[in-house]
């Protein structure tokens, strides 16, 4: 096994935890890949902020209907039983606690569950979209991310340095090296790559990794 998971493998791992019958919002970009890896036989209903519940795969090229898109402005199709609704209803589903899982990407996550994923600071055009709403309301808020930045610096921190998206909102982080739950303001290690020692993982993680029960192997097929 390679020394870290690809994004597709991180998405695969997160997908294995999707509860049957769940209402789920997958963030634009990386988190969207999770839908591809949903385990057979499990029913998941996807929500998108712009007002569609129960959408399916992208249509074949040339068959797009640009009035039928997701929050990433990509063309989608509908499953039987889908519905349309306006934005206030859509975000009532979000803030009102009706979603089971929301999955987002991250620049940084802190051990108390703070998330920074919308702004790299001054100098660019700020854009937040629905991220600040999504982190409050879903019963579980998952993050999928590389374990470290492109420069190799930790993304799992004691405190976020970049502007926050939300405070104490993340429940689980699926990284390229580990699966980590956030409980009681601490990173609790659930799984790690079998070839990696706890010390090596800790060296790439700024905040302390807590081990409460035996750490399982993070084993993901080639996808």
């Amino acid at each position: 096994m390679a020394d870290k998971l690809t994004n597709a493998q991180i998405a695969w791992r997160a997908a294995q935890d999707l509860p049957d019958g769940a209402y789920v919002n997958l963030g634009i970009g990386f988190p969207e890949m999770i839908a591809k890896f949903k385990p057979q036989g499990r029913e998941v209903i996807y929500h998108t902020e712009n007002g569609v519940l129960d959408f399916g795969e992208a249509p074949p090229a040339g068959e797009e209907d640009w009035d039928l898109i997701n929050a990433g402005k990509k063309a989608i199709t509908l499953n039987a039983g889908a519905s349309f609704f306006h934005h206030a209803d859509s975000f009532a589903m979000v803030r009102g606690g009706h979603l089971d899982v929301a999955v987002l990407g991250a620049y940084e996550v802190s051990e108390n569950g703070d998330l920074a994923n919308w702004s790299t600071g001054p100098g660019s055009v700020p854009a937040v979209g629905g991220a600040m709403d999504l982190v409050h309301g879903a019963k579980q808020v998952w993050v999928v991310t590389d374990h470290v930045t492109k420069k190799g610096e930790p993304k799992l921190l004691r405190q976020c340095r970049l502007p926050l998206t939300g405070v104490a909102c993340v429940t689980t982080v699926y990284t390229s090296l580990a699966v980590i739950d956030i409980r009681g303001g601490r990173f609790v290690l659930r799984e790690k790559l079998p070839g990696m020692s706890l010390d090596a993982l800790q060296a790439l993680t700024e905040a302390t990794l807590v081990v409460e029960s035996p750490v399982k192997d993070l084993v993901v097929p080639e996808v």
């Binding site: 700020p126 854009a127 409050h136």
Partner: protein, 238 residues
Amino acid sequence: MNKVYATIGDALDGIEDGMDVMIGGFGGAGAPIELIHALVDRYETTGSPGRLTVINNNAGNGAVGIAAMIYAGMVARMVCSFPRSSDPKAFTEKYLAGEIGLELVPQGTLAERIRAGGAGIPAFYTPTSYGTDVAEGKPVAEFDGRHYVQERWLKADVALIKAECADAKGNLTYRKAARNFSPLMAMAARTTIVQASRIVAPGEIGPEHVVTPGIFVDRVVQVANPQQEEALLREGAK
């Protein structure tokens, strides 16, 4: 009662310099392209209406729709959640040059502020943005052990809306995900102007199928076979 106007020009009468204009649509879905471009043409011909505040989820894409308004120079300020797009040049250049204002509002808060504006609720509390830069300066309160940020209602002078079907009493339906912000904006504007692909006799939209009741709509004009912003951009519209 007949809210149907014969021409787009008539339907757009009374939009003045400095007004707040809500424009329906999320990305290209639901963008009232014909209403927007008639307004751009009017500005380019007469120099008015300018200095507008435009309220939309985004801040234009490519060079059509809201991006065309920005290029024309008629927009002083955007209120939106996501001023980025596949081609955000129109807004980005003016923003970085300090020539256009931006009020950044989280998407769900934007929707709820507009809904509150239409519903007569001057302020409300939301967990969204608590503890972030976006909440700076806003009152915070604790309810049942959790912190919430106070947000104010958002209203407008005018809303420009794209509907699929309308009747003379202003009842509306929308096409697929083109609905998005439009039912909220129709409530929150003093004058709601709608372009509809079809106009039918009252009663033809079944009462159980009306999405926006006519009380929220002031003017309706038919635009059969309307342009779709995303389709235009993909065709390489300039």
